[in-house]
Subunit: 427 residues, 2 copies
């Protein structure tokens, strides 16, 4: 199959006709396949069922700093849980707050806290008029959604293969004091699966933003989420930031949502002493403490960070063939056509596909009409607006293998149809 | 023993001397007793240990509206949990959001939501300049704390034996549109254990506040928390409010913190369709969903509301002797002296003691120095300021019986000492 771009209109239309036949045959199957969200599949969840046996009616509920995990108390979580997350993130346990089941919730509350209380001696963000956040794109729709909720203006920053374009990040943050933060998924980014290079991390850690109250939202959601045997490695941002006295610039987040159960995991954040003081003030009014039995359940189940890492090896074995199907299908169906590019990540939950400009919405719509649900086109950009209408996030983890295979085949057909329709209109 | 008020100075000083001797002997024992917080005791927590066996690695995780409770989803909780809380609160399941482990957190988030989004077509509260909340006093320190956190001015409203003084509530809410809400613990109020009379509930339900966006925070924390066999009953505020088209005026809250585990219970709120629409908007940015396995655990354990109520009978059996010790000691030691009044509630978690004006701080300090920790004097009032310095909250649930007995004896000695010091200074 030659590149579509080198075909003439008639050749393209003939190809289009064939593709429509194939598409119709898929459509006739009345399928219902879902590649929309980064959800673990049942097999992954089954790996953690033992978690539910880790506590029972005969258990001991006392821990190092909590006489009875069943009762009130421990605003920042139990000591053993702080230790575990400290080991995962490579920080000191004193810098950890362990929360409820959602790191998104902790991010939301962190932004809310900066809005209401401010930091670094500056006014609360919500008293500073229009403020802005940098948003590396493509990125995570829920980051953008909560930023928009708080009325914070979002500025797109292009991703490179090494992370956000740091020339732009440095230029914007150093010149505009209304820029108060940036969203980062530094390892296996959502949706591209890019891990920030050492240089990128170092440049983040040595930023000199115009706003004293600028904060990096370092969402390390996929820190231990490899999908093959050539995993990426990421520099420790806090270690680097300390060299520049920049620890106060960083909030780091992670959770066990994609380690144990998305519906019943444990989330945590890491922050400097100054930042924790502000966060704890808010937390002390918001709650008496998060679910300590679920923390204890995780501790008893995993024992320590090695237990967590061994568990993630089993997760990897389940995810590897899924990602292989996605990449193999894309390679086979699209690699020679010149109408799509995609990432081939070593971890995380997504493959990012860029189709021809102006075609993403059409592809998602075609897929939907054939029974394949994808993340909405545009969702990977602030305000749901992909300026080029080209990026599509593919989430391979949830569907069974056979469904995934079929869904990817349909996806490729739709990419081709949309491409030809664009190309022939322009001819 | 005659009333202190009828004794002359010399008699009082003699009595004072004896009391100081008794006090010194207690102090010499180096006690460490805690009656500060409304925490269930270990025996109560043990009642719910079976909860931890209700889910295990072999469990089925599918429910009516959730294919797998281990995974993401169900922003407002699983159907079965909404049903259970609907039965407890006497509302429709459509009006319920089931959250995480903390109703305080849901109250905090509700106020935050009104601050950020507003309601009833009015501007968000945080864009309306100075706004105010009515606070029936004495009341719950954490309600007042979070209200202060949001910069909302608090106005004291005296409690009567039938609930807040409704003449004042009606007068203030109808005349001042900057008053946006009121905190209520309508059944077994904290700290007095007062249940609002039918008339009080009806008057709340038919309020005509000047502010369209006025909201009643109906914290039904102790709705099923009787401590004896003559329980109070409370009218259903939503039923009453509907008669007046006032459903939008009410947010109701409850949790299983004092049913199962304070550290790992399930919280819920009830609200009208209009209010839920606003709350759900915020929730949709804040989280993907609360811990569904813990909801499921509670459902499997209790089966239904009858299971919950039967469980609370066991709780009652544990609490009844504790409250008896408190009341009996107060009766025996103080009833004839004319220096203290207290409530004798049929449920809830507290006994409220009013000592002579100007003596509460002194009593709490004396207790502390003898090894008995009480809730800080003033904590039951906004800003921690009891204008009369007379109210003390006694929390009998947590200490073992023998400790509680001793703590109450010491408490009474301290009440007497403080009273005599006040009386003799004034003679």
């Amino acid at each position: 199959m030659p590149e579509y771009l080198s075909m003439d209109k008639n050749e393209l239309l003939e190809e289009h006709k064939k593709l429509l036949d194939t598409y119709a045959s898929y459509k006739a199957q009345g399928l219902s396949l879902n590649m929309a969200r980064g959800k673990p599949c049942s097999e992954q969840l089954d790996l953690s069922n033992g978690l539910l046996d880790a506590l029972n009616s005969e258990s001991d509920f006392e821990t190092e700093d909590c006489p009875d995990c069943r009762n009130y108390g421990n605003l920042t979580g139990i000591c053993e849980a702080r230790n575990l997350f400290a080991d995962i993130l490579g920080v000191s346990p004193e810098n950890i707050i362990v929360g409820g089941n959602s790191s998104l919730n902790m991010m939301f509350d962190t932004i809310a806290c900066m809005q209401e209380l401010g930091n670094s001696g500056e006014k609360p963000w919500n008293q500073q008029g229009k403020i802005k956040f940098l948003c590396p794109v493509p990125g995570y729709d829920r980051h953008f959604g909560l930023t928009e909720y708080f009325g914070i203006e979002m500025i797109n920053v292009p991703m490179t293969e090494n992370g956000p374009d740091m020339d732009i990040v440095e230029k914007l943050t150093s010149s505009d004091s209304s820029i108060k933060g940036i969203w980062c998924i530094p390892k296996y980014s959502n949706p591209q699966g890019i891990t920030y290079s050492d240089e990128t991390v170092k440049r983040f850690a040595s930023l000199k933003p115009a706003a004293k109250d600028f904060r990096i939202m370092w969402d390390n959601a996929y820190i231990i989420h490899d999908i093959n045997d050539t995993p990426d490695s990421l520099l420790n941002i806090f270690d680097e930031a300390k060299k520049n006295g920049n620890e106060d610039m960083i909030f780091e987040f992670c959770s066990t949502s994609k380690v144990t159960f998305p519906g019943a995991g444990v989330a945590a954040l890491a922050a400097s002493e100054n930042n924790l003081k502000i966060l704890k003030k808010r937390y002390s009014f918001q709650t008496i403490g998060s679910d300590k039995l679920n923390m204890l359940r995780h501790i008893r189940y995993f024992k320590n960070v090695d237990g967590v890492l061994a568990h993630m090896q089993k997760n990897k074995a389940i995810l590897q063939p899924r990602f292989k199907i996605v990449i193999d299908t894309l390679e086979r169906e699209l690699s020679e056509l010149g109408i799509a590019k995609w990432t081939n990540p070593n971890g995380g939950y997504f493959v990012s596909v860029d189709v021809l400009d102006g075609c993403a919405k059409k592809v998602v719509e075609l897929c939907k009409n054939a029974g394949v649900v994808l993340t909405d086109a545009g969702a990977t950009f602030p305000y749901g607006k992909d300026p080029k209408d080209s990026n599509i996030r593919v989430a391979p983890t949830y569907p069974p293998l056979d469904e995934l295979k079929k869904a990817m085949e349909i996806f490729c057909v739709c990419v081709k149809i949309a491409a030809i329709e664009k190309l022939t209109n322009n001819l």
